[in-house]
Symmetry: C2
Subunit: 188 residues, 2 copies
DNA sequence: AAGTGATTTTGACCTGGATCAAACACCGTC
DNA sequence: GACGGTGTTTGATCCAGGTCAAAATCACTT
């Protein structure tokens, strides 16, 4: 399981074997049951995750009490509620397990200690931020220019796995539409 | 003019005087006339900007040929078309001067050379990315949860300067609504 | 001050997707 | 196999904001 972690870490920065061992020691394994909440609205995000198997998401509530899913992490994805994690301020986003999930978690304190001490970790974090930014930017483009059907088709072609693993309720909130609309789109 | 640059740089990372002098040398001054384009759609963004005086924006075109403004940079702001700048791939976004503008530009090659050589610059870039990410994330929240009027009111209270300096056409595209809608909101 | 073009406002109309509500399907469990 | 709970589909209605078009205002130029 830490082998997978090492493989993924190496995709982001040029860690040597010794560094990878240090990092493996910082990531602690945990099992979380489907539907459990890893971070509540209003609390500070203290952890950064690597998903071994399973699925978690970050989402927030709008004024009408509807969920908006920002990011879905499947097997071997990494991430967290980044805005709160960065600023160490109360989070607007929640983190929730959508399946029974095995994950590895690194604490914020360790994360930022590494950021001071290990140059390759600095590179790693920089890459994460660059990708997270570009992903968000793309999402804004899609939200402002595409219709519900176009967002449906695009996600279907880019990450069809989401259509298999997410419930309609969650998928709809990820695509920024109501479940009824998603249901209608499915039946063309 | 470079004094202002130094002051702003120091807000992002703990540069010493010697480093600030090196950096000042990397940022080259330029004057750009109102309405001139600094980056066209399809070309690679090679520069990162500090605005001395004036105003520039990044925006992109949707399928119907309407503009969508992502980010407006006023005096003493820093930034660029980050997604293209990061990946050095053709940009979807354009950069345009909205007023006659005095700016300082650093080349991508210098930017990334510094990122290898100067630890404080690494910190600087990390801060930029963190803030850019959080800003984008906030924008997504606003786009998906707020009505046109709520976005109008929020921006009015947070950055009223935009209402004074931007044309209705640009302001509307920044607020993600049509000019007609903005006009109607103004007259309550 | 008249003319030309750009920008902003106003009016009438339309539509994608939300809302509300009810029916339906799919479970696990007693 | 009946029963409650959860998730999905279907139907009827509504509305914020987009679209299209025309009028009004502003901003230069000659």
């Amino acid at each position: 399981m830490t082998d997978k972690l090492k493989t993924v870490l190496k995709m982001f920065a040029d860690f040597d074997e010794q560094e990878l061992n240090v990092l493996s020691g910082c990531f602690k394994p945990r099992s979380v049951a489907k539907n459990s909440i890893l971070l509540y609205e209003g609390s500070v995000c203290k952890e950064f995750y690597f998903i071994s198997t399973g699925c978690i998401r970050t989402f927030f509530m709008d004024k009408n009490g509807h969920e908006k899913t920002r990011y879905v992490m499947l097997d071997h994805y990494i991430g967290t509620a980044l805005t709160s994690f960065i600023a160490q301020k109360p989070s607007i986003e929640l983190i929730e397990a959508l399946e029974d999930t095995e994950l590895l978690a690194i604490q914020h304190a360790d994360f930022y200690r590494l950021n001071k001490q290990m140059d390759h970790w600095k590179d790693f974090y920089q890459r994460i931020l660059e990708m997270a930014y570009s992903f968000q930017n793309r999402k804004i483009e899609q939200l402002t220019t595409l219709t519900a059907r176009q967002r449906y088709d695009l996600t279907m072609s880019e990450t069809p796995e989401l259509f298999q693993r997410l419930s309609n309720r969650v998928l709809a909130s990820y695509l920024d539409m109501r479940e009824e609309t998603l249901s209608r789109l499915k039946s063309r």
